[in-house]
């Protein structure tokens, strides 16, 4: 029991389970428990604080988590997603300082921000480009998880919470697009708040609730604003906490590369690995082959360095694009236009294109049944894919249909681009 809990600190345990991990005495140089006597005012203050909060133990646990030795660059996408979400919260709070959620003032408050605030437009630009990069990152993160089969037992809920986070971010994007109350935003609000009414029975009521009446008006804006700045972010934060908790519970290990065996007797090697695995491995009832990773390093500094580098590159890109491209502001909202064509953001193009294909009585089917089937397939993936294999080559039964579906979504987006921009 004690050797399981202490992991690498047990003599002789280094060989299979912990190659490359920092020896405990070196970790103690950075943080750790201070033996008496503690000298100097700073160390004494830190020791006082640490005695009362236990923060060094928390840091130790967080920083010296065993993470995969292989595939570290592929594992940076999740933390980069988190960093960009933090950028979104940060810039969003600053935009709130000037933005007025009212149909008469929203647009002029953004004009004010553009003309009077130093870097006001840059802040909007960062918020918009942060959203774009967030979409790409979540897509890449999900694709990496999918290809490496990391969603398999016992990480089903990691996958499901991730898919739910993806849906929440999509909802953040659509509600955020409705706030500036320029032409693009007004017509987005009209189309988006109209979609719920194709639901049977409760549809009309839902549309009325969101709009605050039959037509888009002041209540539409305040309710969407409340969703965007409080309801959805609160759900997002809760789910991110759950997602990270599950990540730490099951470890970052999901890919086949983390479970390769090198000796002539794989069964013995796997058994040896499981015996020496650091907590929380192995998860009860999991396939022993995929229970304990072959090689680990400490999260700090090996993985954290890679994570921070990738995040830095992306944040620099977001800041530069926010500055040189910025966020557009159309003319003020005008309901009496004849030829305005609201174009959805690129990540909504596949859904918009679906609307073209389903005429009259089939609109509701296209909007809810087709999209609902897609969402259910994504959520239920860990239960649909019963194949225990992790290597992509040995999973054609799942990968081929999935890539066909992904190809279809991209094709829909291309059709949408063709329809909206080459009219």
């Amino acid at each position: 029991m004690s050797d399981r809990r202490l992991g690498t600190e047990v003599p002789g345990a280094e060989a299979p389970g912990s190659n490359g991990a920092t020896p405990p005495e070196e970790r103690g140089d950075f943080i750790g428990l201070f033996p008496e006597p503690v000298l100097g005012p700073f160390r004494r203050s830190w020791a006082w604080f640490d005695d009362r909060t236990g923060i060094s133990g928390l840091l130790y646990k967080g920083l010296y988590e065993a993470v995969p030795r292989q595939g570290g660059w592929a594992y940076t996408l999740g933390s980069a997603t988190l960093v960009v979400i933090i950028v979104q919260f940060f810039t969003g709070i600053f935009l709130l300082l000037d933005y007025v959620p009212s149909v008469t003032q929203a647009y002029s408050s953004l004009l004010y921000l553009r003309t009077n605030d130093l870097f006001g437009d840059w802040m909007r630009g960062i918020h918009l480009w942060g959203a774009y990069i967030l979409m790409l990152l979540i897509g890449a993160h999900a694709l990496r998880t999918f290809i490496s089969a990391s969603y398999k037992k016992p990480r089903e809920l990691n996958w499901i919470s991730g898919v739910m986070l993806f849906f929440l971010v999509l909802a953040m994007a659509i509600t955020g697009a409705m706030l500036p109350w320029d032409q693009a935003s007004y017509w987005t609000a009209v189309v988006v708040t109209n979609i719920p009414h194709y639901l049977p029975v409760i549809g009309n009521g839902l549309r009325t609730l969101w709009r605050g009446g039959d037509f888009v008006g002041p209540v539409t804006l305040t309710r969407t604003f409340a969703l965007h700045i409080w309801v959805l972010p609160a759900l997002l934060l809760g789910l991110i906490g759950g997602h990270l908790y599950l990540l730490r519970r099951h470890g970052e290990f999901g890919s086949w590369v983390n479970y390769r065996t090198t000796t002539a007797d794989p069964g013995r090697e796997v058994a040896e690995r499981v015996r020496h695995a650091e907590p929380p491995y192995p998860t009860r009832g999991a396939d022993p082959q995929y229970s304990a990773p072959s090689q680990t390093v400490d999260f700090f500094p090996d993985q954290l360095f890679k994570d921070t580098l990738v995040s830095l590159v992306l944040v620099v890109f977001i800041f530069v694009m926010g500055l040189i491209s910025g966020a557009p502001l159309d003319g003020p909202a005008n309901a009496a236009t004849l030829t305005y064509v609201p174009t959805p953001e690129w990540f909504y193009l596949p859904l918009d294109q679906l609307l073209v294909f389903f005429p009259t009585a089939l609109v509701g089917f296209g909007v809810f049944v087709v999209v609902g089937i897609g969402a259910t397939l994504m959520l239920a993936l860990p239960f649909i894919d019963r194949n225990p294999e992790r290597h992509p080559i040995r999973r054609p039964d799942v990968l081929i249909p999935a890539f066909f579906l992904i190809g279809t979504v991209i094709y829909l987006a291309m059709l949408g681009v063709n329809r909206l921009y080459n009219l």
Binding site: V103, T104, W187, V190, V191, N194, I195, N204, G205, T208, L209, R211, G212, G213, D214, F215, G217, P218, V219, N334, A335, A336, T337, L338, T339, Y340, V341, P342, D352, L355, V356, F358, P359, T360, A361, V363, L423
Partner: protein, 167 residues
Amino acid sequence: MSSRISRRQFMVRGTGAMAGLITAMLSVPAVGFLLSPLWAATKEIWVDVQGGSIDDIPEGLPTARIAAVPLGSGPPAPPVNRVVYVTKYQGKLYAFSNICTHMQCDVHWEPSLDLFECPCHGGLYAITGRNVGGPPPQPLPQWVHRVYTGADGKQYLRIANRLEEQI
């Protein structure tokens, strides 16, 4: 066993009941507040269609006019300019909105097609408002309207702040 509950059972059930009461108390105003638009009455307000008399609108050519339409519900807000497609066809007068019944984009009369066209997803309507192509599930709705004769003897159009059919 006696029918009396133990001290422990009392506290377990009591805790559950009190927590449930707190949740219920919070839900009542919250749900009512959230759902209030469902039973809020929309005040019917009539406004003039701008652009003067409709006498000079040609037969068979839907003509876009503007009306400043108040919402009639929700917090005070200025009226919203909306399009009224005044259409005379085979002796009948129509006061179409330009709200597409598919996704409520802005429909316009396309003379080259002799149809109303929606730029969003390609919905088409005939001059009588009938949905003849693309995804729209219903005909183009008309504003609730009436024609009246002005002091100058010409005909004018007024509309209410609601559509004839729910779309």
